[in-house]
Symmetry: D3
Subunit: 256 residues, 6 copies
């Protein structure tokens, strides 16, 4: 009986056994980027890794085998590069990295793969990359932004924000719950503090902008009302919804 849900802690014969059970493989896809004055650069990576691990455990309790691949900590963060600590890939390398990871996992016999995204800047690139991944893998690989299925529940728990945003109430609450020792002083962590040029078009025109135009400190949102309690509640909703989603047989009956 294999206990851990972490790919990295498994021996090869154990992974072979999980492949024979056609376990669902969750690949956390994150970033390494500035997260304001109070959160570490691994915030996205730490959160999505924790979410994935708890989801896999919840799935196993429900009788669906799940494993969590190592976390892809190199995402699309060019818009944060003017803040130190950001390590970003361009789209070409990011998409090839994701493709080769998926091909290897599939090579070992796993046909149920989900890319669990933990970084807003990856949303577009993952959607585009999956087109080629599916063709090469031969099975539909799914992408899910971890905050998406429990979007409504999160909006109810949050006080001043309605979504995740960047280093604000949502992420700070989750980090306070999970990694309080890594959270710094967030009493001034509110932004943006610059007029947002993107909003000049009322959101109708899209372009690439650096975060430096919008916030001096690297925060879009308001971290001040964050609490560990909110983080705990949100995490529970997120895990429950994702575990339910990944456990649906109908999801995996879809073919290319």
């Amino acid at each position: 009986m294999i206990e851990t849900v972490l790919w990295e802690e498994l021996k090869w014969a154990e992974i072979k056994e999980l492949a024979s059970q056609n376990a669902v493989v969750i690949v956390p896809v994150a970033s390494t980027e500035q997260h304001g004055p109070h959160l570490p650069v691994s915030t996205d990576a730490k959160l999505v890794t924790t979410v994935a691990t708890r989801v896999a455990k919840a799935m196993r309790e429900g009788g669906v085998p799940g494993i969590v691949a190592p976390t892809v900590w190199t995402g699309n963060s060019l818009h944060h590069m003017l803040f130190p600590g950001t390590i970003s890939l361009d789209y070409e390398v990011f998409s090839r990295l994701m493709l080769q990871i998926c091909l290897c996992i599939n090579h070992h016999g796993f046909s149920r793969i989900v890319l669990l995204n933990g970084h807003g800047g990856n949303e577009g690139p993952l959607r585009v990359a999956i087109t080629e991944i599916n063709q090469k893998v031969g099975h539909p690989v799914f992408g899910v932004d971890y905050w998406d299925p429990a979007r409504k529940e999160m909006a109810e728990i949050l006080q001043v924000q309605t979504g995740v945003r960047h280093s604000g109430e949502a992420e700070t609450s989750l980090m306070l719950h999970l990694y309080p020792e890594l959270v710094g002083d967030y009493s001034a962590s509110v932004g943006p503090d610059r007029p947002d040029p993107e909003e000049l078009s009322g959101g109708m025109a899209y372009t690439f902008r650096t975060y430096k135009d919008r916030t001096r400190i690297g925060v879009i949102g308001d971290a001040r009302p964050a609490t560990a309690e909110k983080g705990k509640k949100m995490l529970e909703c997120i895990v429950e919804r994702l575990a339910e989603l990944f456990s649906r047989p109908s999801l995996w009956e879809i073919t290319l």
Copy 2:
């Protein structure tokens, strides 16, 4: 006094003059893909070209010089490839094509460029491509989906749909207004007619799917209530909103 707004009809000295006025260059980005039993494969190309041309004319009337580049008729339509007539690029070639077009336009002195998108499948790829385009061009290039700014007005005009969808009420109405001779019998043009496997996840999980899974005839929406009158009204709203947007000085004050 230059009358045409079409790049293709201009001589080089005229384009030089327009560059010296820093004219806004609108690049229509479309597709060549199946559009159900009643619309031609150039539907996206024809609609976005017409929209762009009318927008440029409206801008000129308002004193803002605008030109329309030739239409990019090769978009991201892999999901339509199982229907004959579709000519699609992969992301890599599409993004390099867009980059080189933008670099040439900018090379001639134009710093105000907007990619006016007329195909849903281009939305993700354009957003990703603009990241690299902006870095190489050195100015923010904007992407706009032509139906976006007048989304509300369109929803009011449409009877059974709320958005554009594919070969349904919206596109058929616009084509009836503009190219009635190219519109075939649409009395049965309603879809999807297959259970949509993507909806199994409630829209939470994204993946790449072919249209063949969803519709036997290539329609997502309901063309039956389409009328030329609706098309005329929608077009007016769309043109008005886009002309206003591209004429805002604040949009073009944004720098990289």
Copy 3:
């Protein structure tokens, strides 16, 4: 009975039917580039599109089904980039674009494809690109420069030139016949007006040169004797010869 010969005006079921007839698909390949003081930048695109359309019609009259794909308006025009209005691709993007277009057309069941070239700068790149295209498509794809089969007839019709050249007697005559409203004053359109450094080697050494070295106004040839009448005559010869060539069964019996 399908009347139009334009791919873009067809519905998917019509293209399916034409594929079952193994129709010949003509892909016009052109450019967007300066054409002297009196011709628009789309001269190559407009001419080759018209030629292709008339050829396809003539073929149909002769009982051979033919269709005209949308025109590739992005060619190899780096040598014109110092004149505003030119939009050029490098070879790599151009060749991949051509390959993917051919692969899509072939995917729908068409094995008879001809790339009808309308721009001198594409001659070399198309010849090189076809090597890879044939290997990937699995059928021989043919390239033809539109002025080539009727070269002799054109030489007889022209007064001061023997071939097409650039924005001179031939192209201006064709444009006067087809698009007189787009032709400006050509009373001084004669060139080159600079010593041609390439000719220093007597044509024995080839290299890449910009047009700016050879002509201040962008003309190589002499447009002054151009007339619509000459254009009409040349067009008739060109169409007749091409239609005859593309209708030869022997051409399409060639295999890879």
Copy 4:
């Protein structure tokens, strides 16, 4: 006063401060690959991460600021792909990933970067990749195999092996010391158990071979005499030697 040596636990302002001190950045480069019947697939990643972290701490105690970047867990492991669990990149993606990581780190002001390698299969690829990395970064980036500087000491501590090999006495001892809970039964972990075809050439001819040719269980070496005590001793030697090496001012005076 910044305490952690882990890049991932730092906030952006802290990384900025460390850049101003020109801290040495250690990038652990590992693999995810089968490690015999008793060790997890993350063995290389876990070991090199631990080594890097202890080295950075030792350096700080010696007054030289050091930080540890997140671990690159995707290495060159094609030779292990026939064993489940292996996730490998090809050289092209691996080298571009390493280049972009180095460029980002350097972008933030760090000119002292060392790639600490923890996987034999990365030795060749890293040496080749550094040629391009140095040219693009503009500073010499160093590669070090973690077992190299203390090679002699390790040979003395080990009983049946003289070097690291794969899943044998050295790696198993280190894992027993650091992660005993992840070490399975290694009473039969000895290999190779197949005639090694590479040795037919006496080591004179090199080629690419899969591990499956050489060992049924994925072990090259002999894990049976492994002990935590040996692991502890080796780790101390390794850390001491590496910390001393990375702290030498002369190393960092080298310019391109």
Copy 5:
């Protein structure tokens, strides 16, 4: 006083000296491909190397320093691949190889570079490649097909052919003059012996074809009337014309 004209025989200080004289560097570009039943696969390489060497010597006698780079023996010979012995590159690798060779030569101070082509299949690829080469090198690099400047003289010397063709009278005569020991029995070396499908279009349509369609033995031309005497005469004309061409100051005054 440096005597040899061969780059490969020079020491670095000698090449430095020749760079300071801005010597003309001739790069022979050839192929390795079948040459019928009687000629070796290096025929193109041997001939163009000899031509280049004699040209460089003739130039030196005329006071113009010239050097011959090593011969590029990997050309574009896909059409010969069905005959054993052919070693061919695709265009992408061929063009990058040529670019990097030119960049290195230019890096050492040589701005006068000519690519002396000795293989028909390279004509198109070289013309296309030179576009990018010139842009990257910053000087015009010239391509010359070795048989081109003396085309008329050769036509007069040849009895049954008017041009070079493949393994026929011209090449066999040159080989008989220069490398008689490598020439086999050519009493039956005449071709093509299959109906040439390309000629179905009267030369108007171009495509990629394998030589196997046209000749069973690999000969296009007629080697039977070849003599060493004809080879000697042709070589003299070729060398004289090329030496004169490369020595013209006007050729090298051309700038990008």
Copy 6:
């Protein structure tokens, strides 16, 4: 009975015959780079070509058919680029060139291919490239550094060096034996004459360095004790060992 062992001197039918005997194909891989004040830039190419030729002859005498492909004279010599005469490829072009050469040789029916390396800078790149070559070719292709099998014998013959180094006793002796007319004055050819910064790390850290940092004249080693006699002895050992190695049936029984 085919006498020559040189691929380049063979006709296609002869190569076909050798393929039917499954001859061993030796591909010499060299460089074009500075070799100090006294040796020509083709030193590596000349030596490895001669070695390969003699090995193939010795093999034939022993009843094993062997052929020598043309020599790849473009290697990885970036570290020599600051000395004139060096012509180097980057890894990407080098590895693709090697792959395409191997694929062509294999295409003609040869499954026994060895890349005989004659340049130290190619050691890493060849090892990395062979991974992909083997996968694409489908057979193991072997790499051998020519000096490796007879390393011990060479060390005994040499007086002041123990290995090959660069332009020192070993290479100069071989060149004195084989090409005395190309060897210049080597009475001062000893190096390095600059403190070697790489040795600061005791060889533990690897990075990319230019030779200019280490030697003003381009020599690493000591050419002064070189003699033709030593060269003759070394060559005999090298050839004997390599011929024996390539003739072992066991080497060629290895499969992928």
